[in-house]
């Protein structure tokens, strides 16, 4: 083989490779304390049936990623849900607090592992979801403001909240078996 300028990228990989890391902002317990100050929690997790998945996807227009619902009831009234949405490369775990009526009480991003789009943690951006319930169809750039440079994360968090509001309406709000 003649001398060639070969596989420079792989040499670059060897030089540049470094440890992966993620920004963990809040644990589940910390998010619970922020979203429901002073409350205690009772876990009420569920597994969605095929019919429930279909109904949620049909009503929300959003794909259900997992059948496992991580849900807690707050002693002060309301629901605390931990879920995740697809990010650019990883999943974005987040917590959603709903009041007794099923309206958004607060959002917390638990972890963010992407290069860009971390602006979704901005409380001003999150504020626009407060009070929204399953009666409002959430859609980016229609009734949810986009953040330039964080479009994918904004879209998927919006879709994730829409999906959980629908899940509340179709599953959590109904009396459990």
């Amino acid at each position: 083989m003649q001398a060639r300028l070969i596989f420079l990228p792989l040499a670059g990989i060897a030089i540049a490779g470094g440890p992966a890391y993620a920004s963990v902002y809040l644990s589940v317990e910390q998010a619970q304390a922020i979203l429901f100050p002073g409350a205690t929690f009772q876990q009420d997790s569920r597994t969605l049936t095929d019919e429930q998945v279909k109904a949620i996807e049909h009503a929300s227009g959003v794909h259900v990623l997992t059948r496992q619902l991580k849900v807690w009831r707050a002693s002060t009234g309301g629901w605390f849900i931990v879920d995740e949405v697809v990010g650019k490369h990883e999943y974005i775990p987040f917590a959603l607090a709903l009041d007794e009526r099923g309206a958004v009480k607060g959002i917390e991003i638990l972890e963010y592992r992407e290069a860009y789009g971390g602006q979704i943690r901005d409380p001003e951006w999150q504020k626009q979801f407060l009070g929204k319930d399953a009666g409002t169809k959430l859609q980016l750039e229609r009734n949810v403001r986009n953040i330039s440079g964080a479009t994918l994360s904004c879209k998927h968090i919006t879709d994730g909240i829409e999906r959980l509001l629908t899940t509340y309406e179709l599953v959590l709000r109904q009396p459990s078996h």
Partner: protein, 323 residues
């Protein structure tokens, strides 16, 4: 590390030029090599494809450094051909919907009995040289400096279809090229399934000396390509893609005097994370070529074009780092 990579690639290229079983084994080694290297890499991001572009751009104010390596090899059976293209690129998000880039290209090649009728034929970037038909040709050359601008008009995350326009002028010694693209993107399944289509129009002006008369003139040529690609993120950070291209050449600027039309297809693997990406692509020219009005006699062998801008196999690896 360079020596290890050279040896690895030597083994892979031997496997790929063998029979079908060895080819499949070669592809598997390509994929496994990438997976084996990946855990030490850490983080990453786009591009999802080896050759096709999407409408995803850097956010405003962000920088990215990319290194591309494209190896093109094998033409005529019995001959030898190798072209190593290298590209070092700096990208910048000028606005959220406008990305600018500057890059340099530097290539090296080796050719022997590789072209039409088994004559030694340098690749297009080295067409300034006129080796004899039985010469062993080897050269390394700085090809040129390119600028690149991609302007996104519709985002696939907001609109039904993503759409962007692309312009890339290249300036080299005795060579100017203007490459324009229309880029389309459609996403499904929470944006994990990405479909892309590119239409490319790239006229070239190249000052060449006629090999017999030695008279210098301008060679008119246009590349017109259609790329179709699909990528699916099958697990965290990892995407697998498939690309198919039709690359056409015309000896004019107006789609007349068509000389070549080659079809390539192949897989791409992409690892993307927080600060880093790597993308590896392999393509093979399909035996679907047919003669056109300006096709060079002897330019099609076994249904594949062996003229100076086409090869049977190519491997592209892109590595990028965000700032």
């Amino acid at each position: 590390m360079l020596r290890q990579n050279h040896a690895l690639f030597d083994v892979i290229s031997r496997l790929l030029t063998g029979n079908n079983g060895r080819r499949i084994l070669g592809l598997a080694i390509c994929a496994l090599s990438l997976f084996a290297l990946a855990p030490s890499l850490a983080c990453a991001d786009e591009p999802l494809f080896g050759f096709s572009y999407t409408t995803d751009l850097l956010p405003k104010g962000k920088f990215e450094l990319e290194q591309w390596s494209t190896t093109r090899f094998h033409k005529n059976p019995g001959g030898k051909f190798w072209l190593q293209e290298n590209r070092t690129e700096e990208e910048y998000g000028f606005k959220d919907n406008l990305q600018l880039a500057l890059y340099q290209t530097y290539d090296s090649t080796s050719a022997y009995h590789n072209g039409p009728f088994g004559a030694t034929t340098p690749p297009e970037q080295f067409s300034y040289y006129n080796p004899g038909p039985n010469d062993r040709f080897q050269a390394t050359r700085f090809i040129g400096v390119s600028g690149e601008a991609i302007y996104r008009i519709w985002s696939p995350y907001i609109h039904r279809v993503g759409f962007a326009v692309y312009e890339e002028p290249t300036f080299g010694a005795g060579f100017i090229e203007s490459e324009s693209k229309l880029i389309f993107q459609k996403n499904y399944r929470d944006d994990r399934l990405v479909l892309a289509a590119n239409l490319t129009y790239a006229p070239e002006w190249r000052r060449l000396a006629d090999p017999t008369t030695r008279k210098v003139g301008i060679q008119e040529e246009t590349d017109a390509n259609i790329d179709l690609a699909a990528s699916y993120r099958f697990m965290r950070n990892w995407s697998a893609a498939f690309e198919i291209f039709n690359e056409r050449e015309f000896n004019s600027y107006y789609f007349t005097h068509e000389s070549n039309s080659g079809y390539y297809l192949g897989p791409t693997v992409h690892y993307g994370g927080r600060n880093f990406f790597v993308t590896a692509n392999f393509d093979e020219q399909m035996p679907w070529a047919s003669r056109h009005v300006d096709t060079v006699p002897g330019g099609i062998v076994g249904g594949r074009i062996v003229d100076n801008d086409f090869e049977q196999y190519r491997v592209r690896v892109k590595f990028g780092w965000y700032f």
